[in-house]
Amino acid sequence: MKHLSDLLPWTRRPRRAVATERAVDWRPGVPGLSGALSRRAVLGGFARGAAVTIALPPLVAMFDAGGTAYACDGVLPKRFGLWFWGNGMLPDLWTPETTGSGDAWALSEQLAPLAAVKHKLCLVTGLSCKVDNTIPHGSGMAAILTAAAQIETGSDETVAAPSIDQVIADQIGGYSIYKSIQTTATSSSGQSWNGPNSRNTAEQDPYAFYERLFGDTFIEPGEDGEVDPRLGLRRSVLDAVMDDIARLDARLGSEDRVRLEQHLDGVRELEQRLAILEENPPNLEACTKPDALTADYADIDGRPQITERNAIMMQLTAMALACDQTRVFGHYLTDPVSDVLFAGATAGHHDLTHNEGEPQPQVNAITVAIMERLADSIAILDSIPEGDGTLLDNCAVLCTSEVSLAQTHNIDEMPTIIAGSACGFFKQDQHYRSLSGENATKLLISLQRAMDINVSSFGIDSAQADEGLTDIEA
């Protein structure tokens, strides 16, 4: 059987012989790396009363014939990021006057903070969300992240489809310890969705995030450690849990079955993670364990330390990418409708977008501050060398919000920036403007293609698009 290490030079090698022979081999076959197994296949198996797990050929199924599908120059993996903020921008101050590449366009007032990273951006303006704008902030969020209208039930709303980060993570997230990681610089819940009523809540505690990524189980490349026998035992426990899930699943109605299936996904992801931890970490040069945290990130006078929190969450995220702990991240500076008090503002952000008089100088200042945080974040990704370039070069980071002008909940003229070229897939230092208000879903198609996901159509109903934005593809 082929192993990942046969396919990609950077990948993991087996660590020293596992110290633990299984004392009691009662379990059904445990696939080591089973990310490619479809959920439906597993649950279909359950429904027929079959055994818990199904052995799979590890990973091979996920690569194209050349085995390089998800790697830059055959060496480094591609990564996808979502960098989100709430409450949009002011289109008149956002959109640069000219389009084109390089010196042909200059940053606008609101984009000015991005000057240092302009050469690694692809700015797209003029895209429209093609859904009925019925739910303030909700319709736009769902359109730009899930390419579908929201589902409304009474006064409750939820998404109809998974968000783009999960769509991509389903394809490229299976090799790493975490299928995706989700963070916020405030107390946002985040907008990463597996489907209706199924949110991947963003981590807001930097200390918990550090512990999760770089705590006891983290092993630096080259570090010569014994395999912790508990890892294998924990996998045995997860098998027992999957037994329980299987027995329970057979008794459930269809809706609950889908919900339990999501739980099973989580268990399987955990089991795979433990399996990966039993191997040597990938030999990635840029991977080092960050220093333990010491700072206090608590709010000061009712205002979050957004600059500091954003920086630490992005630094940890960047190192998680560099260590191949994950290949997909979502980072939410703030959520839709966020009413966070920014420094110097006399009211919450959302409050101001509706109630500040024209020309909304405070809203403008907040948007500029948000772009400063975006600039910080991009610079962090760009500061980690990888191959001939940087981590950022191997990423495509979609930077967006749920509206353009928040005052009127406008979902035309959406703010969309792609940072990083995804190994040369996207043009750089580019401002592309859609004069016809093209469907924003096109951008989501291009982003999937940038991750080598072969997709020609995406989205639901009016939000569906059947082509990407070829003008921004290199």
């Binding site: 299984r22 004392a23 009691v24 009662w26 704008n133 019925t134 739910i135 909700g138 009474g154 006064s155 409750d156 107390s187 819940s189 597996n194 009523n197 199924s198 991947n200 809540t201 918990a208 026998p229 508990r230 294998g232 924990r234 045995s236 426990v237 997860l238 027992a240 037994d243 329980d244 899930i245 027995r247 329970l248 109605g253 269809s254 809706e255 609950d256 889908v258 919900r259 339990l260 999501q262 739980h263 996904d265 989580g266 268990v267 992801e269 955990l270 006078d301 009712g302 009413d339 966070v340 008090l341 006399t346 009211a347 919450g348 409050d351 509706h354 109630n355 008089g357 009127t408 406008n410």
Partner: protein, 538 residues
């Protein structure tokens, strides 16, 4: 202090039953039960259950998977939302952390490992321990298959780690991260009791679980499980006896506190965000104090006085600590902690709607919000959902001007613009009634130098200020029925559409005939067909 008072009050468990309301309205009408749903334990239920098993001293994770509201309640959300992989990861970590604490603590270990192992691997002792913990954690006896798997997991770990208890830790962790612990498996399919097909009613163990999570927000105790084992929870007399026992138990205080925390959104006080340069009485402990004020008041109303739920909106009795006393401008009743305060007749403030928990939560970071306060009354107190505003509307409130010094003049645009007026007429006139309280809940008579006019009308009930508005809310014909609906949804996890309207009305009649007493309603709902009967799995 309330526990004591309650214990006295509840020495006559027949109190709720003795009232005539039940017979006045006749037998429960024929109704169609809602289909079953798999509910994940809420964060509070998870914590309460762990405390019930391992004591208050056990260290629990800072966060488990976040709860989400549907129709205003986590209880409903828990039946619809799914768990993320990060959530699964957190449950796994917590299970090991807790199992380790149990094994490391002599007392806990002695309780949960009631036997002395004869060797590193001792399957009999492991089975005995797992069976005992499993029955409580899973709220039912474990099947032979289930137990066998757990014993094997423990044995494998014991051999690898060369220690019986270290091995059993893995078995305990498996119990605590199993879906049989994390989800409430109440399906009415007869399988728990050994049947296997649709039965039309929840079985005994399912009833034990439903009762304990509804009334205690926690797992059943041994006595309740024994009653289930004896088949007592599926007959009227046995059920009645257990419901009355549970309502007389201290743990019902946890249940009532959680019910109102969910209903009144008190958990959201965790994220209360106020600009302290504007609200100089804002402090780090204000949110927690405000929540406790509300909950202590509810405890007093429900347990000390067994008073009408409607009194929540008019009572002058409240409980303040120094932080809140300063906000309310009244003398602090105690140097430390909370003390009882009777708010003055002329102070303008009374009832839950005069409390910081409501006033501060339903306001902006730097100002009040008449719309949010109005929406809260409509949606939470009256069960009248307000639609979202049209997405493309400009919802700006004009800034303060010479001819518009107070919110009443500024908000007038909402009510003039026909597009906005449809909904804002339903909310803003109510919210204006609270304008004597700033965004934190401090009393004020003027805004920008102009006297505030807090008068208005709510569905035909005129009020002159927040004081009289409290009475109008208490008298509103929808307030009692809304509490009934909320209680039924909280107990069953059903969305409103899945509740049988005739049955809701029947409970409402009883609630009204029994002086709107919360404990009476909880008892009535626990005995309800909506709580005991189940529709077919869909």
């Amino acid at each position: 202090m309330f526990l004591l008072a309650f214990a006295l009050a509840c020495q006559e468990p027949a109190t709720p039953a003795a009232d005539s309301g039940v017979s006045d309205r006749g037998e429960a009408p024929a109704s169609s039960p809602a289909p079953p749903s798999l509910k994940r334990l809420t964060g509070a239920q998870y914590r309460n259950s762990m405390h019930a098993l391992f004591g208050e001293g056990v260290l629990l994770p800072n966060s488990v998977e976040a709860d989400e509201r549907i129709e205003g309640l986590f209880a409903v959300g828990s039946a619809y939302t799914t768990i993320s992989s990060y959530g699964v990861e957190k449950y796994e970590k917590a299970a090991y952390d807790i199992a380790e604490q149990v094994m490391d603590d002599d007392e806990l270990r002695a309780r949960w490992v009631p036997c002395t192992p004869v060797d590193v691997q001792d399957d009999d002792c492991a089975a005995e321990s797992l069976e005992t913990l499993g029955r409580l954690a899973w709220r039912r006896p474990l099947s032979a298959d289930e137990l066998e798997v757990l014993v094997l997991v423990s044995a494998e770990a014991a051999v690898v780690l060369d220690d019986f208890h270290d091995g059993l830790e893995f078995g305990f962790a498996a119990l605590l991260m199993s879906p049989n612990f994390l989800y409430r498996v109440e399906l009415g399919d007869g399988l728990t009791g050994g049947g296997g097909s649709y039965t039309g009613a929840y079985d005994d163990y399912e009833m034990a679980s439903r009762l304990s999570f509804f009334l205690w927000d926690s797992i059943p105790d041994a006595e309740l499980l024994d009653a289930a084992a004896a088949g007592e929870l599926t007959n009227d007399a046995g059920l009645l006896a257990q419901v009355d026992r549970m309502l007389a138990d201290d743990r019902v205080v946890d249940g009532v506190r959680n019910l109102f925390t969910e209903m009144l959104h008190l958990d959201e006080l965790d994220d209360l965000n106020k600009d302290p340069t504007i609200f100089t009485y804002m402090s780090d402990d204000l949110a927690e104090s405000a929540r406790e004020e509300t909950l202590l008041g509810i405890e007093a109303l429900v347990f000390d006085d067994d008073a009408s739920y409607l009194d929540l909106y008019t009572t002058q009795r409240t409980f303040l600590d120094r932080t809140l006393a300063a906000v309310y401008d009244v003398p602090a009743p105690e140097r430390e902690g909370f003390g009882e305060v009777w708010l003055a007749d002329d102070g303008g403030r009374r009832g839950f709607l005069g409390q910081a928990s409501f006033l501060a939560l339903n306001a902006h970071a730097t100002s009040t919000s008449v719309t949010r306060r109005g929406i809260f009354i409509r949606e939470v107190v009256l069960c009248q959902p307000i639609p979202d505003p049209p997405a493309n509307a400009n919802t700006a409130i004009p800034e303060v001007a010479e001819d518009a010094p107070t919110m009443r003049e500024r908000i007038a645009v909402h009510l003039e613009n026909p597009e906005c007026a449809t909904c804002h007429e339903l909310t803003d006139p109510i919210g204006l009634g609270f304008e004597n309280f700033d965004g934190l809940g401090r009393w004020r008579l003027a805004e920008n130098g102009a006297t505030i006019d807090p008068s208005g009308e709510l569905d035909g009930g005129a009020f002159t200020d927040a004081w009289t508005l409290g009475q109008v809310v208490a008298d509103h014909p929808q307030t009692g029925p809304c509490m009934t609906q909320t209680m039924l949804q909280y107990a069953t996890g059903n969305v409103a559409d899945d509740l049988d309207e005739t049955l809701v009305d029947w409970h409402t009649d009883g609630f009204s005939a029994n002086a709107h007493r919360i404990l009476w309603l909880m008892r009535d709902v626990a005995l309800s067909p909506a709580f005991r009967e189940v529709g077919e799995i869909q």
